[in-house]
């Protein structure tokens, strides 16, 4: 036991994680407990008062409220939070960059453009078809982003997210342009700012699709980990790099499209959760995916509860809370990186994915 704990301090985070299996298990256990607790709180927070006593007493009105509104809302938060965070994790592996998030690099924006286009052209299309179109747009946006970053003259760690942010901005401008023309700005806002207050039974079930996408991501976790080490490395191991990238893009696109159409954008979620997880257990996706799921849903649940409490009896949309909380966490992470760079001037880059700037 003690020999495994005394892993060399210089080991990479991933190696440190493997040397201390206890830490990962502990984090998972704590995370699961926190999510369950938050989910329970989420069931009982809202304009209409429900307390556990009334539920236990079998009050039919209380149960009805839970079934129709509170439970769907809580499930939606758990599913969307988990999936968007996993999408971020996969996206970071595919672009080999820790500062990338589907919500920041054009994927979510493209999905929004997709629903807008289909809403304008075929207003009567069923939701599932609209999601399909949005997924196709999201795929195209993601492919464009990956193609762009492959053509960058230098693969600077921070240049990659910049290109993504600009691409997202361009797509968003095009989307706003169309929305303005067809008088759909109001509708557009609903997609751009995540909001769980409209979630009722019958309006969230499509989110189970993203649960399936998450499972697929977990099954293929080893492939993504290898792909994250680069094309040459992947080919050297006899794997098909392009196919892996396509699979990853598909998962990311589906998650983005479905979550945007059902709950709206959740800014920074896909960015900060994988970074936190990477600090805790390293970058092997087999270990990272479960914890990402837990932290993602926990964060969304917490922000949603906060949004319901902060301005009672009104609600603040979760997208707004997320953008403030997420941006603040991200700035702290960037600050840690800035300090890390100055103190570790002479040490070699710890990880291939984070070392692009040393020279």
């Amino acid at each position: 036991m003690s020999s495994t704990v005394a892993a060399p301090a210089a080991a990479s985070p991933a190696a440190a994680g493997s040397a201390r299996p206890g830490r990962g298990a502990l984090a998972l256990g704590l995370g699961a407990a926190a999510v369950v607790l938050l989910a329970l709180v989420s069931l009982f927070v809202g304009v209409a008062d429900i307390d556990p006593a009334r539920l236990l007493a079998g009050d039919p009105a209380a149960w009805e409220l839970v079934w129709i509104s509170r439970l769907p809302r809580t499930l939606a938060a758990v599913l969307a939070g988990a999936a968007v965070a996993v999408a971020g994790l996969i996206m970071q592996q595919l672009s080999r960059n820790k500062f990338v998030d589907p919500g920041m690099v054009g994927t979510t924006e493209s999905a929004t453009l997709g629903i807008l286009v289909v809403t304008v052209l075929v207003p009567a299309a069923p939701m599932l078809a609209k999601m399909g179109v949005a997924t196709l747009f999201a795929l195209a946006g993601t492919a464009l982003f990956l193609a762009l970053i492959n053509r960058l003259p230098t693969r600077d760690t921070l240049l990659v997210p910049l290109v993504g942010i600009m691409l997202g901005g361009v797509v968003a401008a095009a989307t706003t342009f169309f929305a303005y023309r067809f008088d759909l700005l109001q509708t557009l806002n609903a997609w751009m700012i995540g909001d769980l207050s409209g979630i009722l039974r019958g309006r969230y079930e499509l989110l189970w699709i993203v649960a399936a996408a998450c499972v697929l991501g977990y099954v293929a976790a080893d492939r993504f980990t290898v792909a994250g080490l680069g094309e040459d490395f992947t080919t050297n191991l006899g794997m098909n790099y392009k196919a892996t990238v396509r699979l990853g893009m598909f998962i990311v696109a589906v998650i983005s499209a479905v979550s945007v159409t059902t709950v709206g954008a959740l800014p920074f979620l896909g960015l900060v959760v994988p970074n936190l997880v990477s600090l805790l257990v390293g970058d092997h996706l087999r270990r990272a995916v479960p914890l990402t799921v837990l932290i993602g849903s926990g964060l969304v649940l917490a922000c949603d509860i906060l949004g319901r409490l902060i301005r009672q009896p009104y609600e603040v949309p979760i997208g707004m809370i997320m953008s403030v909380v997420g941006a603040a966490i991200f700035l702290v992470l960037l600050g840690a990186r800035r300090r890390g760079r100055t103190t570790a001037r002479t040490s070699p880059p710890a990880r291939a994915t984070a070392g692009g700037e040393h020279a």
Partner: protein, 334 residues
């Protein structure tokens, strides 16, 4: 034959002397801008001539002020921050201004704040803006250099954070206060207050004049911090002055017409392409002319030809974003 030895990639253009090149572009842009302004004022005039001209004149004034303010501040800002990507807007200065406005309404109450005379309110907002900008950005740009992309990312996230907090505070306001705040912060070229315009013109004129006087120091700053210090430029003082003046210019322009994120980047990148190797004196003139031309012509197209079916900022955002990506791909921005 120095021409024969000249291996510039842009072959033909490099044969022009910088003076001739500048004269040509300044003349061309000046003429084009004058033409654009004439067309803007006279196109399709109906009804009372003086009324329409006053209306359009006010709007034109706002556009020109905003164009000059953003172009010149972006140019100076890029020099003191030693890069060609960062702009005050990208670093979140305009978002900071909106946030300060919201915070004022939030803490003082909308009625108290709105009944304050407009120029007074404006000056208070600008003073706050300068103070916060210096607090926030000065340590970023005067401490350790070299982490450009990191600063850029921090700036973009800060801008998002400011917008997020602004939106959140907006939600926390009483609905009636929120409406009043929206009237305050969502100005556009179509609704410009003439009093505000006069105050803004004065402020922008003074700030641009002060930046103009710094033009030689800025030329030296462009050689890099160590060289500039070695040549006797007080790097910290110039940086502070430029950051403060940028805050004033961006704040004023945002108060007039609202935020236009990529406009400064677009204009200054183009200006550098048009007159490569020019000093800041010339660059200021070229980018101010170019900025005015782009905004006046753009607003004209949006208003008259596209039938107001979109807003200028969306178009600028779209075009500016594409230019930015192309520049990154070319490796022009390091």
């Amino acid at each position: 034959m120095p021409e024969l030895l000249d291996h510039t990639p842009s072959g033909v253009s490099s044969r022009l002397s910088p003076e001739a090149r500048f004269a040509r572009w300044a003349g061309g842009l000046g003429a084009a801008t004058a033409l654009a302004i004439a067309v803007f004022l006279s196109w399709n005039l109906l009804g009372s001539l003086s009324f329409a001209l006053t209306l359009r004149g006010t709007r034109l004034g706002a556009i020109v002020l905003c164009a000059v303010a953003i172009s010149v501040s972006t140019l100076a800002f890029q020099t003191v921050t030693a890069n060609r990507i960062l702009t005050p807007s990208i670093m979140g200065m305009d978002a900071l201004y909106s946030l300060l406005q919201t915070v004022m309404v939030f803490s003082l109450g909308a009625t108290a704040w709105i009944t304050t005379p407009e120029p007074a309110r404006f000056v208070v907002e600008l003073a706050l803006m300068v103070g916060f900008s210096l607090l926030l950005y000065r340590w970023m740009f005067t401490s350790k250099p070299g982490a450009l992309h990191l600063m850029l990312l921090v700036g973009i996230v800060l801008a998002t954070l400011f917008r997020g907090v602004t939106a959140l505070l907006g939600k926390l306001l009483e609905p009636s206060e929120y409406t009043q705040l929206q009237d305050l912060s969502f100005a556009s070229f179509n609704r410009v207050d003439p009093t505000l315009l006069a105050v803004a013109a004065l402020i922008i004129a003074v700030a641009v004049f002060l930046l103009w006087r710094l033009r030689h120091s800025l030329d030296v700053m462009a050689l890099g911090r160590d060289t500039a210090v070695s040549l006797g430029v007080d790097h910290r003082r110039v940086t502070t002055a430029v950051l403060a003046l940028s805050a004033v210019l961006v704040g004023t322009s945002t108060a007039l017409v609202g935020p236009i994120t990529f406009f400064g980047l677009l204009v200054v990148s183009l200006a550098y392409q048009l007159v490569p190797g020019a000093g800041h004196g010339r660059l200021v003139i070229i980018s101010a002319l170019l900025g005015t031309l782009v905004l006046v012509a753009g607003q004209f197209v949006v208003e008259q030809l596209a039938g107001n079916s979109t807003t200028l900022s969306v178009v600028v955002e779209f075009a500016g974003g594409i230019v930015f990506i192309l520049l990154l791909l070319k490796g022009a921005l390091k």
